[in-house]
């Protein structure tokens, strides 16, 4: 390399091209194409069973694509001499022998790629496991297991980092730590891909979003673009006479829906106008609140059709 080993390259990225994976008649990943760029945190989102994990396993060369390619820093992973120095991945917490110490787990991985032993001490320090490094990993809590997984992802000081559900099982301090870690890794010029089914968490860290459902691309957008996709703001109205108010509000461009318990959700009229109409007709209001969609609701809206394992709301179930 002309840059003599230092710094990130322009081709330090993950490129997924027409990636497809089928199991019998079931298509887990369906013609997916996207690029994960360096210097930013990319959130990889989708409901459970949407194909996130299968995609990430194909990026790591663990699952063979039915068609299409997934490359890391310009090549498929098996074409790299020392894969750990190209991409570090956390696939599942506690993917360790329960009787082996955390330090020896990392030492064993380091030996495969010729990574110096002092780097093991460094990553243990980064994730805060130095004090328990010589304990058997089987005694670790889920959160400590996640930290150990992150330590192994950082072991090769890779230009690309890929983490599956990294905040799973972490306490609030740990969640905060992960947020900063992800931002710092991106700020150092690394390519960072983080999968999650928790939009609320990703909204705080990701600059770019790849959202899939049932294996297909739903959105490949920046954070700003995702915000712009939010549904129109609505107003929730509680009143003494919801049926009459509903008639009064009904006109072109206004959408009124009943959300149960006498509440109305109104789109197309602002709260001041609703208050005025109610006052003019002597309807007492018990609630009048503006509601702007969160990224989470935008995400839910985008993926609503792609949820494999939908559950019915208890309220709806009781009413039925």
């Amino acid at each position: 390399m002309c840059d003599d080993g230092a710094g990130a390259d322009d081709d330090d990225m993950i490129e997924v091209t027409n990636l497809t994976k089928t199991y019998g008649t079931n298509t887990a990943v369906d013609d997916l194409s996207f690029t994960v760029r360096p210097g930013i945190v990319t959130g990889f989102l989708g409901p459970n069973g949407s194909g996130k994990s299968t995609t990430m396993r194909m990026i790591l060369g663990l699952d063979r694509p039915t068609s299409g390619t997934a490359t890391v820093n310009g090549r498929t992973l098996n074409r790299h001499g020392a894969p750990l120095t190209e991409i570090g991945a956390l696939l599942e917490a506690k993917a360790v022998h329960p009787k082996r110490s955390a330090r020896n787990h990392l030492n064993a991985l380091a030996l495969t790629n010729g990574i110096p032993a002092r780097r093991v001490d460094e990553v243990l320090d980064i994730v805060g496991l130095t004090e328990v490094a010589d304990k058997a990993a089987g005694q670790f809590s889920l959160g400590m297991g996640q930290r150990l997984g992150i330590a192994s992802a950082l072991l090769g000081n890779p230009a690309t980092v890929m983490l599956v559900e990294p905040v799973n099982g972490l306490d609030p301090e740990g969640v905060l730590w992960i947020r900063h870690l992800l931002r710092d890794l991106a700020a150092e010029g690394r390519t960072v891909l983080v999968s999650s089914h928790l939009m609320s968490e990703m909204a705080l860290t990701a600059d770019h979003f790849v959202i899939i459902g049932r294996g297909r691309m739903i959105a490949d957008v920046t954070a700003a673009e995702l915000e712009a996709m939010a549904p129109e703001a609505s107003v929730t109205v509680g009143s003494s006479d919801p049926q009459r108010l509903r008639q009064l509000l009904a006109r072109d461009g206004v959408e009124v829906t009943s959300t149960g318990h006498g509440l109305l959700s109104v789109v197309g009229v602002d709260s001041a106008e609703i208050g005025r109409i109610a006052a003019d007709h002597a309807i007492a209001l018990s609630e009048l609140s503006n509601h702007r969609s969160t990224l989470e609701e935008t995400f839910m809206g985008l993926t609503a059709d792609a949820v494999d394992y939908g559950a019915r709301s208890l309220v709806t179930a009781e009413a039925a």
Partner: protein, 309 residues
């Protein structure tokens, strides 16, 4: 509130006059927020490294890493020492009981086979441990991290087979020698033998060779079945139950089957058969055992390459 003091990155002083160490991105905001964080968020002390300068993953490194993994789980070492210890103790027990005057039991011809009788047990332990070191990695998910670090699955398979075969061979060779010497020491002098007697070296080497073969087969079964329980079932069925079942068959059917069972080949390579047992030649025994090793490792290689990890 305590502040964490970070050691300055070692490159700071030399950075200006050594442009190759310059890294465009620094960790400025991380340091500023250290106070509120449970742990320092400094991620690296060196620039992102490129792999071109290092030969990367190779078979030698995988051998080293597999041996490291094996010896850093205490229960593995205990199982190996336990298998040897059990064989030595049982051999001594059999040897000392030979003094009752009834003579050795049906399965032993002499002081040699008496003192090595305990290996019937330890070989089962060796085979099951071979299954377990692989199956446990499938069960925990470690195998996926491992394949992501070392994408050549055939090299990973080869390293595991190689390391464990060597462990089985060396540990069994030592244990067999100790068992032989200890056994002779406690048995009646009338049947005791010495290391230089005919067949003794072949018996010791054959016992170690047999252990190495079933160790390799155990590792292959671990890749094929990915479950310690299933693998242990196959090991016990093949090594212990199959010979009994075959002996229930008419000899025209049973004998050819018995000839290809690992247990009978064991009698051939060690030169120690039961009283009245017809044993094939040493060469044929070696061929049968190697045939099992090649078949099971080849099957594992095909499966591990094809299958999603």
């Amino acid at each position: 509130m305590t502040t964490t003091v970070h050691p300055e990155p070692t490159l700071t002083q030399t950075q200006s006059d050594n442009s190759r160490n310059e890294h465009p991105m620094t960790m400025t905001h991380a340091i500023a927020e250290t106070e509120t964080l449970p742990h320092p968020v400094e991620t690296t002390t060196e620039p992102i490294r490129r792999s071109e300068r290092d030969p990367g993953v190779g078979f030698g490194r995988l051998i080293h890493a597999e041996w490291f993994k094996f010896r850093t789980v205490r229960s593995n070492m205990l199982a190996v020492v336990g298998a040897g210890g059990a064989a030595v103790s049982l051999g001594m027990l059999f040897a000392s009981l030979a003094e009752t005057g009834e003579g050795p039991g049906r399965l032993a011809n002499d002081g040699l086979s008496l003192s090595l009788g305990g290996f019937n047990l330890s070989q089962i332990i060796i085979a099951i441990l071979g299954v377990a070191i692989v199956a446990s990695e499938y069960q925990s998910g470690l195998i996926r991290s491992w394949f992501a670090a070392a994408p050549s699955r055939l090299q990973v398979l080869g390293a595991k087979v190689g390391v464990y075969t060597a462990v089985a061979f060396v540990s069994t060779a030592v244990a067999a020698t100790v068992a032989f010497l200890a056994g002779q020491a406690v048995m009646p002098e009338s049947i005791a033998m010495s290391l230089t007697d005919d067949g003794v070296i072949q018996a010791l080497a054959g016992t170690a060779f047999y252990a190495a073969c079933i160790g390799a087969i155990g590792v292959a079964l671990g890749f094929l079945l990915r479950s310690t329980a299933a693998g242990a079932g196959v090991v016990v069925s093949t090594l212990l139950i199959a010979p009994l079942m075959v002996s229930l068959l008419p000899s025209s059917i049973g004998d050819p089957i018995a000839d290809i069972l690992p247990s009978n080949a064991s009698a051939a390579v060690t030169g120690m058969g039961a009283v009245g047992q017809e044993v094939m030649s040493t060469g044929a025994g070696i061929a049968v055992l190697l045939g099992w090793v090649v078949a099971s490792v080849t099957a594992a290689a095909v499966v591990v390459r094809r299958r999603d990890a």
